[in-house]
Every structure is written in structure tokens, then in C-alpha cells.
Symmetry: C2
DNA sequence: CTGCTTCCCGACCGATCGGTCGGTTCCAAT
DNA sequence: ATTGGAACCGACCGATCGGTCGGGAAGCAG
């Protein structure tokens, strides 16, 4: 995803020349600010500087915009599970990786994941998005269970409950994170796995980002 | 005794006799299931078994229903800050109390807090709700900062970041908690403060609920 | 130039939205 | 038996919703 599209310097002429990609970004931004149902297509058009009809030249429906957006978010999340550090190694290490990796994916695809986390299942598209999201949650819950049982001492809380709480914390990043104003994504990811696994003050040595502390592009 | 529901046959069936309170509960349930903007007044009416007009006999507008609901949620949250265990004692103990207490308030007023946490500021009422919510967050952030600095060692993460993550975890309870199906509220509250302050495996003795472990009605 | 494609617009559509209105039914108190 | 008010309803309203349609302007190839 690092390589970008054709960089076309479109001057501020009378004709903006939108493509589907940039239009999607504008639409998702408005959806997140006003809510999907609370956003009219006229508002999206105004935010993009075009008319409503033009949107329907690029997308077939409002729901399709949502579908494309949440697909991008889901792809970003599932990609975390394919990273080498998540698929191999001790259970605790893998959990640290998936927690930090999910937090990173959240910041990287922030608007799309934000939209995904807010769908309520009103349409078939939203329903499908929720199904895939639950599938992701299930895969991750198994890793928490593994890690919780890995130590000699029994886990202090029920693994399923811990999964919900930990990834509730991770997902809450979308409520406040702003890439231009907030902390470095790696710092956020480190803080998340720190608090979730070691508590507010910390007890164990964080093992996931020691390899990344000075290498912020390593896993992408 | 109080007026009961008399079965009356008027050709089509009994007349439900709603009051504003029960109608509010129905409306909030639908709002949470379909989203506030995604819910039409006709849907609320159908869920309540009455017509749209009757709703406007009890409430002046859709927005007023929202206002009453989020007010109830905010009252429940601010009441936590007035509890004795939150206002006195060592900083760490106070933080454990406020984390667990907020989690308990969430489960107690679940539908109303759920609605509160989802408002996006589209109307003056929503804007006002977000202002009060931010005020609550500020008060709580100060307690996290106190507690984080209370131990001999410096905190492992920035207190403001920790506040957002911890209360992001607490608020995420609304995403999955169902009173009839889920864990005991006290168990959830204990798990939250456990993970947030001691990590997944735990290191310190939980100090907040030792007084409540066998007394689930004690605080309210 | 013509012809084709891409991008875009103003005008318009049926459906649905939140909300209103005039009037009816029920019940408790008089 | 009458009355007053709370609860309720069917019909309706202007506005806005997501979406459609026919056509205009720009860029490129021949």
C-alpha cells in the first residue's frame, strides 16, 4: 500500500477532476463526522466540491461507498493476522504482536476502521461487515486464551472477557486519534499492549516493539 | 396499590397505556439497535405498539427523547465522582474506585450510556451532551495522573494517553454487555480495573472490591 | 474537423422523513 | 350522569431523502 497512485497535480481550476479514491476519502470523512445515516449525499457532494449527480458517476449508491470503505478496513485488520510475528513464536509474544499490530492498523486506516466500528447492521452491507468483524474477533480471542494460559499462574480474568476489554481498548483509539495532532502510532501501540498486558505501571518487559523502537517502517 | 393494567377489549385488543418512562425505554432500545439517525419515529411507534402521533403526546420532538436519555446517562456517570471511595483515600485506590464505579454505572444505565457514547454532535442537544462528557473525562484524567505519579517508579505510559485507553476500555462495555446474558456487573468491573491497573495477569491485590465481594447491593 | 470517452451538472422523481391537526376513547372524580 | 384531561389515532403537510436522466464541456485520437 506504500506505492501511491499516479500523482496528478490538479490545479485549482474550475474542474476538480476527482477519482473514485479521493471521493471515497471525502465521503468517509463526512460519514465519520456526522454519522453514516446522518449524512446526506448532498452533504458529501458539497464537501467534495461537486454535485450529487457526479457522485453517482463514480459510485452506484450510497451503500456501495460504505461497502468499499469497510472492505478496506477489514483488509487492513486481517492483514495483521498474516504478519510473521503473529503467526509464530510464544503465545504471549504473539498476543503482544497482534494487539500492537491491530492498534497500528487502526491508525494507518483510521477513517475506514472508524466507519467499520460504527456500522449497526441496518443494511445487508452492514450486516456483512459485522459478520466479518466478528470473525476477526473470534480469531483474536483464541490468541488471548492461549496467552492467558501460557504463564504458570492462572489468568486473573476470564479470557473471553479479557479479549473484549482489551480490544475494546484498542478500538477506542478511533474515538480520539488524529494523525496530525496525536502521538506517534508506535507510541500508541506500545502503550496499548503495555497497559493491556502489564497494567498501568508495568511489570514485564515489553517484548514486541523492542525490535521497532527506532524502526517505524519495519512491519509495513 | 398502584394502578394496574386493565385488560380492555375494544375490538382490536388491549390498550397498552404507556407513560413517558416506558416509552423512553422503548425508544432508546430502538435508537441503540438501529442508530439514532437511522431510526424513524414510525419505527419507534411500531416497537411501542402505538402510533407516531401518540409519541408526540408524550414528547415534543425526537430530539427531546434523546435529550432526556443522555441526561440520565450523564447523571449516572457524574454520580460516580460523588461516591465516598472516589473522593477520599490514596490516589491509586481512588482510581480503582472510579474505574470500577464507571463500569458499574455503565451496566446499570446501559442503554442510556450506550446512546450517549454514540452521539456525534449533529444537533445542539448532541453538542451539549458531548461537552458534558468531555467535562467528565477531564475530571477523571486528573485522577489517572495522580495515581500514575503516586508510585515510586515513574508511570510506564503518558497519563493522558493512559486515561483515553483505560476509559476507552471501560466504555467498550456498551458494545457487548447484555444484562440478562453477560457476566455479573461486579465481575466485569473487577476485570476492568484489574486489567487496566495490573495487566492481564495481575500483580497487585485488587483493593476496590474486597469490601463488595459478597455484597452486590452495597453501593446503590 | 469529427468522434469517443470521461467528468460533470441542473432539473427532476417517488419515497420517506419529522412533525401537526382535529377528533375519539377511556377513566377517575365529581 | 357529566365532565375534564390523559392517552390515543388516521390523515395529512412541507421538507428532505437517495437516486435518475438528458445533456454540456473538456481532453484525446483519428
Amino acid at each position: 500500500m506504500a506505492g501511491n497512485r499516479t500523482l496528478r497535480v490538479t490545479g485549482l481550476g474550475p474542474r476538480p477532476k476527482h477519482d473514485a479514491q479521493s471521493l471515497l476519502a471525502v465521503a468517509v470523512e463526512v460519514f465519520n463526522r456526522r454519522g453514516y445515516d446522518g449524512t446526506s449525499m448532498a452533504e458529501v457532494a458539497r464537501a467534495a466540491g461537486i454535485t450529487k449527480s457526479t457522485i453517482y458517476h463514480h459510485f452506484s449508491s450510497k451503500e456501495q461507498i460504505l461497502r468499499v470503505a469497510v472492505t478496506r478496513a477489514l483488509d487492513g485488520l486481517f492483514a495483521v493476522l498474516e504478519e510473521p510475528g503473529v503467526k509464530t513464536g510464544p503465545a504471549e509474544q504473539r498476543l503482544r504482536h497482534v494487539v500492537a499490530g491491530t492498534a497500528l492498523a487502526l491508525t494507518r486506516e483510521l477513517p475506514y476502521v472508524t466507519l467499520l466500528l460504527r456500522v449497526r447492521g441496518n443494511t445487508p452491507t452492514e450486516e456483512w461487515a459485522m459478520v466479518r468483524r466478528r470473525e476477526f474477533d473470534r480469531l483474536v480471542a483464541a490468541m488471548v486464551a492461549d496467552a492467558a494460559g501460557a504463564r504458570g499462574t492462572r489468568p486473573a480474568v476470564d479470557p473471553r472477557l479479557a479479549t473484549r476489554l482489551i480490544f475494546g481498548m484498542v478500538n477506542s483509539i478511533t474515538e480520539w486519534y488524529r494523525p496530525e495532532r496525536s502521538e506517534d502510532p508506535w507510541q500508541v501501540a506500545r502503550a496499548v499492549s503495555q497497559i493491556a498486558l502489564d497494567g498501568l505501571w508495568g511489570s514485564a518487559s515489553g517484548g514486541v516493539d523492542s525490535q521497532h523502537s527506532g524502526d517505524h517502517q519495519g512491519a509495513n
